[in-house]
């Protein structure tokens, strides 16, 4: 291991690199498909990777950073998907005629989901742990049954006629925005409050942390991005039905969160990417694919219960101050080890 002195310059060097890398990624996501370098099939996979990254990192905010067990994330996603789809099909000028209104539809879908997230947060004031998990499960069922019986959005048969507006650059932009907002949130004072709820809610309350505000914030931000992911998916698949957003979808997201590791955005990115690519790569196995994935989960829980990156973070996802503190700690450990 190297000394902190050797490390400091490399960080300053990196400071400008991350934005450059992101801008380059966004440009590439537009230019590569435009010049036919990326086959549409690869684009398809990348889009689902991106959507899953948004879902996983937003769920991680509640399940990882706040330490609650929400299984209702698919419900927020459904609200966002239907909200955005109804807006882009029935309210805004039709799709291709005004594509610049697309982000508006997505944001509106996200806000609708965030509103419901606030409601669930209010319920979480009184319940915790397993009981809150049941509340979120009930919420998911309510959303699904409501959509199944709403004939204006096609009921159980699904919502048709959605324009294909989701493109790779949009997905890249939204994924980066999600990671950026959640990273900045968890490392802010409000984020510390959220993590205090996880570590010890009563102690946090006693020391003056407004745990209610923390819960509302975590749930509404988390469900906002679930709604965004739903909107993106709806305009990618061009079809949504209530059955897509059942408990199995929530389970998928939980698998990605716990595979990547709770309380880690880097873990969420890895978890979502690995899970999505693996499912696609194992497609030739047919039905066995669905047996292999749960098996992987069992093995993961046995050997790495905290997931790939549990409670750790890539240094480029940490704010500079945390990064320095971490390296100082690491070098201390090194010195102790050598001593």
């Amino acid at each position: 291991m190297s000394t902190p002195k050797l490390h400091a310059p490399s960080h300053r060097h990196r400071k400008g690199m991350l934005p450059a890398l992101l801008a380059g990624g966004l440009a590439a996501s537009y230019l590569l498909p435009y010049f036919g370098v990326l086959s549409p099939y690869v684009q398809l996979i990348l889009i689902s990777v991106g959507v899953n990254i948004i879902l996983t990192s937003s769920l991680n905010l509640v399940n990882g950073y706040m330490g609650e067990f929400s299984v209702g994330h698919a419900g927020f996603m459904a609200v966002g998907a239907y909200g955005a789809a109804v807006l882009s099909v029935n309210v805004l000028p039709y799709g291709a005629a005004a594509p610049w209104l697309f982000p508006l539809a997505i944001v509106a879908g996200g806000l609708a989901a965030a509103l419901l997230g606030c409601v669930v947060a209010l319920l979480s004031f009184k319940t915790r742990g397993d009981y809150l998990a049941i509340v979120t499960l009930a919420f998911l069922m309510i959303v699904k049954s409501t959509l199944e019986n709403l004939d204006v959005v096609g009921g159980a048969r699904g919502f048709l006629g959605i324009e294909k507006l989701t493109t790779l650059p949009w997905v890249v932009a939204w994924s980066v925005a999600t990671i950026w907002v959640i990273r900045n949130l968890v490392h802010s004072r409000y984020g510390r409050d959220i993590q205090a709820v996880r570590d010890d809610e009563i102690a946090a309350n006693q020391t003056g942390v407004d745990t209610r505000r923390a819960k509302v914030l975590a749930f509404s931000v988390s469900s906002f991005f679930a709604g965004v992911a739903g909107g993106l998916l709806a305009h990618h698949l061009q079809f949504i039905n209530p059955r897509m957003f059942d408990i199995a979808k929530s389970t998928d997201m939980l698998v990605m969160v716990y595979l990547g590791g709770i309380g880690s955005l880097g873990g969420s990115i890895l978890g979502a990417t690995i899970y999505t690519l693996l499912l696609e790569a194992l497609r030739p196995l047919g039905a066995f694919r669905m047996m292999l994935m749960p098996l992987m989960l069992v093995l993961l829980m046995l050997f790495r219960p905290r997931g790939i990156m549990g409670m750790r973070e890539f240094s480029w996802l940490l704010p500079a101050c945390d990064r320095d503190a971490r390296e100082a700690a690491a070098s201390d450990v090194d010195k102790d080890g050598k001593a």
Binding site: L44, L237, I274, L277, E280, R312
Partner: protein, 390 residues
């Protein structure tokens, strides 16, 4: 540092899986056709029939030296996608096939619940889709304008026709005055068939005495069947897929419902008889063709299919075979392997004589005009009762 090294290894693994996923098949002059079938999920018998018939149609063409398009001989290759009998997975399968520029057209999905979302995607990406078995009018109609879709065709008749045939059969042949209906409200075809049956039966002087619904996946129908029993109908209309029918008819028998059941073409899998343990004996349903009174084309197909797969072809198999026949004719007529040219050539085919009879495509429509048959289940077999012409 630990984390960084590990993430490097992970990145390598990811890159390798991505590269493996992108690998393409060999470059022989080949025309690729997509098939979306219900291989898993609620309707595996439908998917299996569709798949075997598709493989048979393709191997017959390949064995005969390939498909001649514009003077060149092409091998036909299938790209099979499973939609798990689900609407959303049909949409993603269609997205996947549409994004692959090698695929010139798709056949399937069979059930309307999957065919409707897939048709939306086929239409918006400008690729021909022929559904063998989806009878719902919405499949070939634009969701927004209600005008016919340009790229979507089907090999079967549509629900309005089937509803009329069934209603007339109940009135004229079964001499029924009252009817009860039980249908799956979450599935496209049963919902539209029951609505049309209701209207036509009532218009022709009959009375609907009970109309009950259930949702896909329900296993207990006793509440609905008790209500139906109380209303004492002459006939019970059950437009359900072959996987629901056995449960319904067995529970109806236990409740003492004596009225005959009348089914839609969704009944027509041989699995129906196997699963329902004689409870469907004597009941009637509408179908696309009757294997026991076959035309020369049908006889040839039935013989070849039975020889290869050691079982009789059901209507999905016959319709899938016809869908491929139509597509092959369109590709020959197009003179080039191109999505748009295939569509134009397909739209120009005025009549096509296939296993399931003669199809006539009216100008600008993907819905063929063709006749239906009524079958009765007698002695564990589907037996022809009558023909119904448009």
């Amino acid at each position: 540092m630990h984390v960084n090294r590990r993430s490097g290894i992970l990145a390598c693994i990811l890159a390798a899986t991505l590269a493996a996923a992108c690998e393409k098949a060999s470059q022989v002059p080949t025309v690729h056709i997509g098939l979306i079938a219900e291989l898993s999920g609620d309707l595996p018998a439908v998917g299996a029939s569709s798949r075997t018939a598709a493989e048979m149609a393709v191997s017959q063409v390949n064995d005969a030296g390939g498909l001649t398009i514009g003077g060149r001989s092409y091998r036909v290759e299938l790209a099979i996608e499973d939609n798990a009998s689900k609407a959303d997975q049909s949409a993603s399968a269609a997205q996947k096939l549409a994004s692959d520029s090698d695929i010139v057209a798709i056949v399937g999905p069979n059930a309307s619940l999957g065919a409707i979302p897939a048709a939306e995607i086929a239409e918006s990406s400008g690729m021909v889709m022929i559904t063998p078995w989806s009878t719902n009018p919405k499949t070939t109609l634009d969701t927004r304008t209600g005008a016919p879709k340009k790229y979507v065709f089907r090999a079967c008749f549509t629900d309005p026709f089937e509803g009329r045939v069934l209603a007339r059969f109940a009135l004229d042949t079964l001499h029924a005055h009252t009817a009860a209906i039980l249908y799956d409200q979450s599935s496209e075809a049963p919902k539209s068939q029951s609505e049309l049956f209701k209207t036509i039966f009532a218009e022709a002087g009959g009375t609907i005495v009970a109309s009950e619904t259930y949702t896909s996946g329900d296993k207990d129908f006793s509440a609905q069947l008790t209500k139906i029993n109380q209303s004492a109908p002459d006939v019970v209309f059950l437009p359900a897929y072959y996987n629901d029918v056995p449960l319904v008819v067995q529970q109806a028998k236990r409740l003492g419902i004596k009225a005959p059941f009348l089914g839609s073409d969704a009944w027509s899998s041989p699995d129906l008889i196997k699963l329902s343990d004689n409870a469907v004996e004597g009941f009637y349903f509408c179908n696309h063709y009757a294997p026991d009174v076959a035309t020369p084309e049908a006889a040839r197909f039935v013989r070849a299919y039975t020889e290869t797969y050691k079982r009789a072809p059901d209507d999905v198999a016959a319709l899938t075979y016809d869908a491929f026949g139509l597509l092959f004719e369109a590709l020959r007529g197009a003179g080039q392997v191109d999505r748009r040219a295939t569509r134009d050539a397909l739209a120009k085919i005025p009549t096509y004589t296939g296993v399931t009879g003669t199809m006539r495509f009216p100008e600008g429509s993907g819905d063929p005009i063709k006749s239906a048959v009524m079958l009765q289940i007698r002695g564990g077999k589907f037996v022809w009762v009558t023909n119904a012409n448009p």
